[in-house]
């Protein structure tokens, strides 16, 4: 194997390295620049922020967030199935039933374990 054969790899690596710089440069070049004090404030759901960033909150927040995320993603899978229901037919219905059943078991487990009780 001659080193010439590895030229594409070198080019590949150079492009990969340059890519973030190019992207940031382009963004800086194209975007309008209107600095404002509000923009420097911390983000909090889009409403006016209250309290410190380093404030403590219940670890249960994470459990609820993870559960929410799972069911959020579930709908992502439900949508394409609903759109293509004609093509997937009974097979798709059973598959989706199994999928939801698995999530329901997990939900029942979390419920029983007290993950939904706010202590």
């Amino acid at each position: 194997m001659t080193s010439v054969g590895y030229l594409p790899i070198l080019i590949f690596i150079l492009i990969a390295l340059a890519f973030p710089f190019i992207a940031f440069f382009l963004a800086w070049f194209i975007r309008p620049n209107r600095p404002e004090a509000v923009k420097l404030e911390r983000y909090e759901c889009g409403i006016e922020s209250s309290g410190e960033v380093w404030g403590r909150y219940s670890v249960q927040y994470y459990v609820i967030a993870v559960l929410f995320l799972i069911f959020d993603v579930e709908t992502v899978f439900l949508f394409p199935w609903a759109v293509r229901y004609d093509a997937l037919g009974l097979f798709g219905l059973i598959e989706m039933g199994i999928f939801i059943l698995i999530l329901v078991v997990a939900y029942a487990y979390a419920w029983k374990k007290g993950a939904l009780e706010w202590a």
Binding site: M1, G5, Y6, P8, I9, F12, A106, A108, Y109, K112
Partner: protein, 513 residues
């Protein structure tokens, strides 16, 4: 993919029986652990044990000559399911998958047997432990059968997520959580490298199926060769992280030391075997056409792992850490078998020898290493961590049988004749010599001699110092069973290995196809 054929999918499910059963078992265990009251959680372990035994029967039912019905797989042939657009199966059912799945189930069963007592001592008796062990075995089983990058990666992550949880299972212990975090971060990093390598290979060959990749390499239609090479090297790096080969081993000592001891045994045997299964599949099926290139890389990894692992193990005072470094060394030994196949130059006899050696050693190592960690579990009580060399002082006086068993396990790990380790190393080193890699065999033998020194330190502590306590509590039944099984098989394989060699040879598949 052109069109989805439900009938093909349903027919493929027949090869997925063990995995479906394991998934169901995991859910049942999760449900039980939520439903049962605190005091009865230990029974989840019992259910897990019975479930793993049934899973072993389901896996074995594919073997010819097994009394139960269902489709059979003759030695050297492969059945596949879930084909991709080109008709290459995504999921393989062959002798290799069956043998490896049995090894995983064995490691899991031994881990569960030990864990029942260990979790009592740690006051962490929660049923989720057993469910996670089962989910980890599910991932490993998918890994052993995977024939394309997607299936393999799915299995790898299923296993890894369960194992991260197991390593950090002792939530109150700083060491356990630290180990889990380190293991998770480096594992995720390694997965990233692996995926990047896979994407480059896909880019170069136009297929993510191992057979498709092999076909593209063989016919010369694989795109730019260097791209393929870089992809293969990145895949190898990712895999080396998973099997903890030097220089990608740095997570292993911390993770092994901090993890609950039964889990340490589990990840050093079953999870390592799963890593080797993936390595064998990818490199013997997918990258076989590049064997001349990757064999040298493997030889470097192997020599470095053997030497570094064994030399650093000499310096350790913590037995779990010592066994972690010894486990790095053993990964180096096992790579010898792969190197032998890779440098065989198409000689089927050498290929068979190398493959048999790897599979046999995975089995041998499971018994010896699980046994050694089982003895550490035995020593764990109250305020005694049980994993320091001092904790082994005078064990011959307090637990004479356990001390004798530990001696056998350590001699087996060192490879002393009449133990299983000797047979395993005989095959591995023999494979290296057969494939004209005698220098690697010399390195391996020298390292075995070094390893004898630190194994002997533990034996000396057990037999040559007086016991510190006089009235030992009796060992619980589960742990006793685990130690007895490990001991019986370590001695049995050492004295009469033929049935186990035949077992390992069932795993052979025609390499290069």
């Amino acid at each position: 993919m052109q069109g989805f054929d439900a009938s093909v999918f349903l027919r493929s499910l027949v090869w997925l029986k063990p995995e479906l059963f394991l998934a169901l078992l995991g859910f049942v265990l999760l449900g039980l652990s939520a439903a049962l009251p605190e005091g009865k959680r230990r029974y989840v372990g019992l259910v897990a044990l019975i479930g793993l035994a049934i899973a072993a029967v389901v896996v074995s039912s594919y073997a010819p000559g097994f009394p139960l019905g269902g489709p059979k797989i003759a030695p050297g042939t492969a059945q596949g399911g879930f084909p991709d657009g080109a008709g290459h199966p995504g999921f393989l059912a062959d002798g290799f998958a069956i043998v490896l799945k049995l090894v995983f189930l064995l490691g899991a069963a031994l881990c569960v047997l030990m864990a029942v007592r260990f979790l009592d001592v740690e006051k962490a008796q929660r049923g989720e432990f057993y469910a996670m062990v089962v989910f980890a075995v599910l991932g490993m089983s998918i890994l052993a059968s995977g024939n394309d990058f997607v299936t393999l990666y799915l299995g790898l992550e299923t296993m890894a997520l369960a194992v991260y949880t197991l390593v950090g299972f002792l939530r109150a212990s700083r060491r356990s959580t630290e180990a889990a975090l380190k293991y998770f971060l480096l594992g995720a990093f390694a997965s990233g490298i692996l995926l990047y390598g896979m994407s480059l290979v896909y880019g170069a060959t136009g297929s993510y199926n191992l057979e498709g990749i092999a076909a593209a390499i063989a016919s010369g239609t694989a795109g730019p060769r260097p791209l393929l090479h870089v992809g293969a090297v990145l895949v190898l790096v990712g895999m080396a992280f998973k099997i903890a080969a030097v220089p990608f081993h740095m997570w292993a000592p911390d993770a092994y030391e901090g993890a609950p001891t039964p889990v340490t045994g589990f990840i050093s045997t079953a999870a390592k075997a799963a890593g080797f299964a993936m390595l064998l599949r990818i490199f013997f099926r997918g990258f076989w056409g590049l064997a001349a290139d990757w064999t040298l890389l493997l030889a470097v990894l192997s020599a470095a792992s053997m030497t570094f692992g064994n030399v650093v193990a000499v310096l350790q005072d913590n037995v779990k850490r010592m066994l972690a470094y010894s486990s790095i060394g053993h990964a180096g030994y096992m790579l010898l078998g792969l190197i032998a196949v890779g440098s065989s130059g198409g000689d089927p006899l050498t290929q068979r020898y190398g493959m048999t050696a790897v599979v046999l050693y995975l089995l041998v190592y499971t018994f010896a290493n699980m046994g050694a960690f089982g003895t550490i579990v035995l020593l764990r009580r109250g305020s005694v961590p049980g994993d320091r060399v001092e904790d082994f002082r005078g064990l011959a006086g307090t637990y004479p049988v356990a001390a004798a068993a530990m001696t056998v396990f350590l001699l087996s790990l060192a490879g002393i004749p009449s133990t299983a380790g000797f047979i395993g190393k005989w095959w591995l080193f023999g494979a290296a010599i057969k494939a004209d890699q005698a220098w690697l065999a010399v390195v391996a033998v020298l390292n075995s001699a070094i390893s004898l020194y630190y194994y002997a330190r533990i034996v000396a502590a057990m037999y040559m110092t007086a016991p510190e306590e006089t009235r030992p509590e009796p060992a619980p039944a589960g742990l006793r069973a685990a130690l007895a099984i490990s001991l019986v098989f370590t001695v049995w394989i050492g004295i009469y290995p033929q049935p186990f060699i035949r077992f390992a040879q069932y795993a052979l598949w025609p390499i290069g196809r």
